[in-house]
Amino acid sequence: MDRTPSTKSGAAEIASVLVVVQASLSLVAGLSAIPFAIVEPGFRVLAVVTILMAAAMFWLARNLRRGRRWAWRWLISMELLSLAMTALLSLLPIGTIRGPVPLLVNLVIPTAVVVLLAASNAGTASGPRTPAREDVDGPRRQQHAGDGHAYPFARDPQ
């Protein structure tokens, strides 16, 4: 099937929304560990690390929407690492994946993000650069397309 530029930028937008969902769930996980950190000293560190990681994911999602190549690289690395950890943990008899919620959160969403990131990346090196918001908001948003940051996965300035 022919993959149009707008499909690519749409994939990046959807991926960024899913990353925001993941970041929000991480934020909640970090915040929820704070009460336990009162008596479990190790969770003080884990809670802070998780909240910082959630903040980083929000930032990466924002930069993915802005078409930053490095954000794409970081996100796909994190998602693949997350999927590898899930696969590893599901092999252990500790009941990590039991039911639709852990399946959605730990498997479906990260896989969807990886697929969408791969789709958004396909052909960007040779294909034309297209305003990323065009696909999202339709023609009515094209008036905003010239705001200077809407090119999907522009190469990092080296």
């Binding site: 929000s24 996980a29 929820s32 479990e40 190790g42 008899p93 009941g95 639709p100 908001d137």
Partner: protein, 371 residues
Amino acid sequence: MYDIATDHAGAISAAVLALIFVAAFVFGLRFLATAGVAWAARITHVYDAAPSITKLAAALMLLSGTIHLALVPGHDGITGVLFVIDGLGFIVFAMAAFLTAWWHRPAVLWLAATILAYLVWVIAGWETPDQIGIACNLIELVALGLLMRLANPTRRTWPRRVWRATAFPLMACLTTLGIWVGGLAHPDALHAHAGALLQPVAAVANPEQQAAAAQLLADTRASIARYQDPAAAIAAGFKPGPASSADPLRHFQNSANANVILDPNRPQALVYAQTPHGLQLIGAMFQMPRAGQWGPDPGGPLTQWHQHEGICFSPFGIEFSFETPFWTCPIGSTSITTPPMLHVWIIDNGKNGPFAADLDKAVQRELTGRS
């Protein structure tokens, strides 16, 4: 902590069928459009012209609508009526996304109202949070996030920017908090303390079961009396678990007994209380080899096994916290479910009794000075 309610299980099949139906419908339309059918070509054109985010948001709303409709038979009264209205509303919005220009804002309000209504129902105790409800909530949250990205801000003022940046994380936090409060405030009959799932048993023990429970208690008490001194337990192969300031009880586990099933002479663990005068043996813990494998309960409801689930376990310092309803744990910890266990308390365990999942709080306070 969050299972799949029996009357909700059908919703999974309905959701899968809905996805297959949508895929088949789109495929069929494309086939007809290719064959030259005019109306199919028009619909295909409208569908293809829609942004990817709209397509996904519509698919998720359709999924949520189908799940709501599939749950109607298990919900009477006003809840059932609202499920019908909600389900039909989502299906209408899923179609309106391709056919109308006005659908966006009402769909956002519908999604937000549905998520908040679920929280109200859960907190009020009118609905027990289970995995189907939470999964449906997650689908709606993702759809809401997609629609929020579709929003076209006319004025880019700072308050609006801050609201756009924080609205979704706030909604996720609020949802988690609401489900948590509801789940902890109104646990179902099979959940003891938070995170412990009880073995389903009959309501009342018959005389034979009462005698068997008394025999198990006597046998266990006689068998573990030799381990009053923790050194004797260590010499017999029991390894002391980590001492935690959060838990006044310490478990000494014997991995050599891992595959033994409810043998009073070979318990999987011994339980000591950390008293001001040192460790005091207060009971034994029997554990099954695998999660979900309930053990024999000779005393019926008196010897009810329990398994801990919904726990975040951190190997750094062997620490625990509760996972969120969305099954997430802090980085560096993982969700675990323990194999079923049965405690036999050889001391007087107050109103909880000799086989309770927990030591009675008053007894614990008296023994250890901590609750």
